[in-house]
């Protein structure tokens, strides 16, 4: 798999809700095999960006390519992890059935999942440490378990690109460690992983690249170059004071989270 096409190319992208721009003139290429944090204040357009890349939102203008092709032609290679709150957890299916859905992008219409799909789904559940819950109804899961199961579903897809919307929101410390370990395993396997993230404090130890977003693309590049006080101030603008403190504290490796999650 030594193709030179970047996993994701975004050109001149503008997205608007009811004439109000949410993303403005965004342009970037995502490099292969990097674990990337997408950060920015609430309403910066982080979720909108990954939904637009997935083709779930129609942009006003711009072009998005996945391995050089429109996303519809590369669906099996790009996995999406939606926000946990986006689904009804009382839906009558088991944990295992939910994870098996990750295989659907490889199956043609009418085709049912086969034994190979079942094996892959089982392995994905093992990887997130949720095998014991396979037969449970999904309403019985806690917040952290829901995130693990969502992650297992994306793993079952065996994609090359993973777009994750706040997979660390509302999880306990143990789950956070597990998820970060899984993310770095994916990166080490050469996968490209884009994670919408709200916790500035945990960016440093866990991500290679950083994308700072606030309506426009503020900065995008290797963490050491991009994750700077100056860029953070640009991205968070109005909340400059809080931000300065956060950055100072983050440097001291203290325990501060961005106030107010998305």
């Amino acid at each position: 798999m030594s193709n030179k096409l970047p996993p994701i190319e975004v050109h001149d992208l503008t997205v608007a809700y009811r004439k109000k721009p949410v993303l403005w003139d965004i342009d970037f290429d995502v490099p292969e095999g990097k674990l990337i944090a997408v950060i920015g204040p609430n309403g910066a357009g982080k979720s909108t960006l990954i939904k637009t890349i997935m083709g779930l939102i129609e942009p006003v203008s711009g072009k998005i390519l996945v391995y050089g092709k429109p996303v519809d032609r590369e669906r099996p290679r790009i996995a999406y992890v939606p926000q946990r709150e986006s689904v009804d957890w009382d839906f009558p299916i088991s944990v295992y059935e939910l994870v098996l859905m990750g295989r659907y992008s490889h199956l043609k219409l009418f085709r049912r999942p086969g034994s190979n799909d079942r094996r892959i789904a089982t392995e994905a559940l093992e990887k997130v440490g949720m095998s014991d819950y396979a037969g449970r109804q999904i309403s019985q899961l806690s917040g952290g378990q829901q995130q693990r199961v969502f992650l297992a579903r994306a793993l079952a897809q065996q994609a090359d690109i993973y777009l994750m919307d706040e997979p660390l929101a509302g999880v306990d410390a143990a789950t956070e460690t597990t998820i970060f370990e899984l993310l770095s395993v994916l990166r080490d396997e050469g996968k490209t992983v884009l994670v919408v993230h709200h916790d500035l404090q945990s960016v440093s130890g866990n991500f290679d690249w950083v994308m700072l977003l606030n309506l426009r693309l503020v900065a995008f590049g290797p963490r050491e170059e991009v994750f700077t006080t100056e860029n953070l101030q640009k991205a968070y603008g109005g909340r400059l004071n809080i931000l300065t403190q956060v950055v100072e504290l983050a440097k001291e490796k203290s325990f501060v989270r961005e106030p107010g999650h998305e």
């Binding site: 088991s94 659907y104 999942p113 109804q137």
Partner: protein
């Protein structure tokens, strides 16, 4: 010798099973009221089919109803997206307008149309045994039984073939789209099935009570099971039970059959609401408190 009772029970059961199967997906998709909207909005489709063919021909009726069912869905989404209106508001505007249009058509051409508002709204299942289909001089049995049987097969085929797509679409249309599932096709397919079921059932139970068959048995099944396939089967079984017990209730109290069937769906729902093994209101009260989902700390060990 097949009695008229048998035909009435069979008609009611087929209508109930068809409606419950597609209604389950409406309930899970949180679009129950779309069933209500479609069941009303198909009226002009029926009226136009009657006017054009001047007969109670089945296929024009199915086509007319299907077309107006899908138009309802399309207009509702159009108003919601382009008209900046809330989804339920758009639906309220669209289906009432279409229904009113149907009422006007019927009242204007009442002389030509063998169709009155009473029948459309309330249905008359008791006359089914005399609505016979004569084919090549042979008595094939009541016509509605054939139509309902055909629609039930159609629904079973739709759900059978697209089971995996329907499942992920009902769970999360957005995620389904991200997998490359043709969400639009599934959505309109489901709404088409709802339209067909509604039109096929309306003669028996009426346009209003068909909503009870679409929504209440699936809601009852939803309370009783935590798996999708059992929910579909249970919804159909509860629908059929309601139809049969409703018929005898109607005989017993000498009341409308359609009304009694709807009442029975409500009674089954109430029983499930109170005594469901997992979520019943009374079950929970008289059982020791169960621990909730286990805290995360223990998940790893």
């Amino acid at each position: 010798m097949i009695t008229s009772t048998f035909w009435i029970l069979l008609t009611g059961s087929l209508a109930a099973a068809s409606c419950a199967l597609v209604g389950s997906f409406l309930v899970l998709r949180k679009q129950s009221m779309m069933g209500d909207a479609i069941s009303h909005a198909v009226l002009p489709g029926i009226a136009i089919a009657f006017l054009l063919t001047a007969s109670r021909n089945t296929f024009p009726m199915l086509l007319g109803a299907g077309a107006f069912g899908l138009l309802t869905v399309y207009f509702t989404e159009f108003l919601h997206k382009r008209g900046r209106l809330m989804h339920d508001t758009s639906m309220g505007i669209v289906f009432t307008s279409l229904f009113a249009f149907g009422v006007i058509l019927i009242s204007l051409f009442a002389a030509q149309v063998d169709l009155d508002q009473e029948c459309v709204l309330y249905g008359e299942i008791a006359y089914i045994p005399w609505d016979l289909w004569i084919w090549n001089g042979t008595n094939m049995g009541p016509r509605p039984v054939w139509i309902l049987g055909f629609v039930l097969m159609l629904n079973l085929a739709f759900v059978g073939f697209f089971y995996k797509e329907l499942k992920v679409y009902a769970f999360s249309p957005e995620y389904a789209a991200s997998l490359g599932i043709p969400v639009g096709l599934i959505h309109y397919g489901l709404m088409g099935s709802v339209s067909f079921s509604t039109i096929a059932s309306f003669e028996s139970v009426g346009a209003i009570l068909v909503v009870a068959l679409l929504i209440v048995p699936p809601a009852t099944a939803y309370l009783l099971t935590e798996k999708l396939k059992p929910m579909l089967l249970l919804a159909m079984a509860i629908g059929v039970l309601s139809a049969i017990s409703g018929y005898y209730l109607a005989l017993f109290i000498n009341a409308s059959i359609a009304g009694s069937i709807a009442v029975m769906t409500g009674i089954f729902f109430l029983v499930a609401y109170l005594f469901s093994p997992s979520d019943g209101v009374l079950t929970r009260r008289y059982r020791k408190a169960e621990p909730l989902a286990e805290p995360d700390e223990f998940a790893l060990f």
